[in-house]
Subunit: 286 residues, 2 copies
DNA sequence: GATCCTTGCAAATTATTTTCGTGATAAGTT
DNA sequence: AACTTATCACGAAAATAATTTGCAAGGATC
């Protein structure tokens, strides 16, 4: 799909000359996007035709197509190749974190299952009661974020990060209710238990989790969020940013499914514009 | 700086032919980045030289430079020109949200005051006790995130979203302590009061907020987070993502200032790799 | 009516791609 | 082991295509 991932896949199969070209891309990216085919060829100590062939090899139509692809993916993908920040220099750390966050959003957008999200939004909009479940520092934040967003549309919602409480709520839930559960790893077996229990009484269960995971298999509707685990397991913040964005999308679609939500939101907006001297709570609107 | 902003500034001064070229860029961007100068010229109904002149006019060296610039800024900037999503179609909503989030990260990275963050990180790393303050759905999340991140480095930290509690904590704080307060709007007057009170006893106060705001003026160290308000006041999630990233950077730098944090984190990582069958809580590491 | 700006044409320049041939390496054959 | 033969990488040069420049014509403005 994008050049850098192709490059990583093909790396082993490249010839010496092509490897030299690849090295320039990775090391002196700035030069590569601005250079002409001749300059690039000279720097890599190869002939222009070899550069053209290289471009074709990594899946581009032509050299100019290659440059466009390069420039396009660069902003997001450039540092993706360097798994760890090079130094402890604040600038590098910041760059690394921002890039990983950008990347998480980028990957999320690519792999988003819109049909599932819309289906989930419809169910949520019609639900008599919504339970947002999630445990651990990450998923519990997602659960409370869901509560935070949904109650403003006039929906009945409660969040819980307590497994015992989740089980009780799941046991008491009715068929018109919806449970939305979040699990970054997909291996939250307690959540699986709540889902299974709830489904016995016809409760709709929605999971934000990794596709094909235990949690995914236990839910009615799965909103899969699959990010390259290697890059994120030790840096959950970027994964969390992707989850937050997914919740944002879900909540927006829920709003569109509730006629009066638009009215309420418009009123909040007008309120915000008219009265701008409160504290953070004025940022309620959306 | 980037092409689209130049384009917006120059728009009024463009000639009819150049306006036609600009229109193509804005309306059929995909075509524009992939087209040759001839194709673009034909579509705009002008001659190739006019396209070259147009490129110079918007600050590029040449047509190919122009294309690279275009492709480069496009990913982040493209939809920035369209302030509102075009439709309620899930794809458009998702696109809009993701783009705004990307943009928030982009703007954050540009405007980041690294010196302030590093200064804050040093203070936090040495603090006897840390208080993370924030109110409202947004800032309270940031406060608990700070707690979440910092306690793992062996630091003493507590988060509070309650104004009354914040005041009491601030009154009881000692000069070796640090208060980190978050306010998206910068107008949280209760937080200002806590800061002012705390500074009387020499407590270091750190604010994550808008530059030159009330809260910023009341703090010792300000980590300014200024995002285009117009785009974010009604859509706080993207601003929040920027705040989360800022907290991530801050926490990473704090870790580098604590020698034993590295050891602890490494142990957590090994733990994670060895034992991969728990639930979400396994994603503790960073 | 003079001047300035915009624009296109055609030529010149430059960049890119194709074609073709050489040399190297590997696999099969005598 | 020595000799084909196939395959591939690569570069030189030619062919092609794209881009830029110089210049002149057409319009608008003062």
């Amino acid at each position: 799909m994008d050049i850098f991932s192709t490059l990583q896949e093909e790396k082993a199969r490249l010839s010496p000359s092509e490897t030299r070209i690849a090295d320039i891309l990775l090391n002196d990216f700035e030069f590569a996007v601005n250079a002409s085919i001749i300059e690039l060829a000279e720097k890599a100590d190869v002939s222009p035709p070899t550069v053209t062939r290289f471009c074709r090899r990594v899946g581009c139509e032509s050299f100019s197509d290659f440059k466009v692809q390069l420039a396009r993916t660069a902003y997001v993908g450039m540092r993706y190749l360097r798994p760890e920040p090079k130094s402890r220099d604040p600038g590098d750390v910041a760059q690394d974190i921002i890039t990983k966050a950008q990347n998480a959003l980028f990957l999320l957008h690519r792999s988003l299952d819109l049909a599932a999200i819309e289906q989930a939004a419809e169910k949520i909009a019609k639900a008599g009661m919504i339970y947002a479940f999630g445990s651990g520092g990450n998923s519990s934040m997602i659960a409370s974020e869901l509560q935070n967003r949904l109650f403003r549309f006039g929906l009945h919602v409660t969040a819980s990060s307590d497994h015992g409480m989740q089980l009780m709520l799941a046991a008491a839930a009715k068929s018109t209710h919806v449970i939305v559960g979040s699990s970054f790893s997909g291996r939250n077996t307690e959540l699986v238990r709540s889902f299974t229990l709830a489904r016995e009484t016809g409760v709709t269960t929605i999971a934000l989790t990794q596709a094909d995971s235990l949690v995914a298999k236990a839910a009615d509707i799965v909103i899969p969020i699959d990010l390259a685990e290697g890059n994120n397991i030790f840096r959950p913040t970027s994964t969390r940013i992707a989850y937050l964005a997914a919740v944002d999308i879900l909540a927006s679609l829920v709003a569109y499914n509730i006629p009066q939500a638009a009215v309420t939101l418009r009123r909040i907006k007008q309120q915000l514009v008219a009265h701008r001297d409160g504290d953070d709570r004025q940022l309620l609107g959306d």
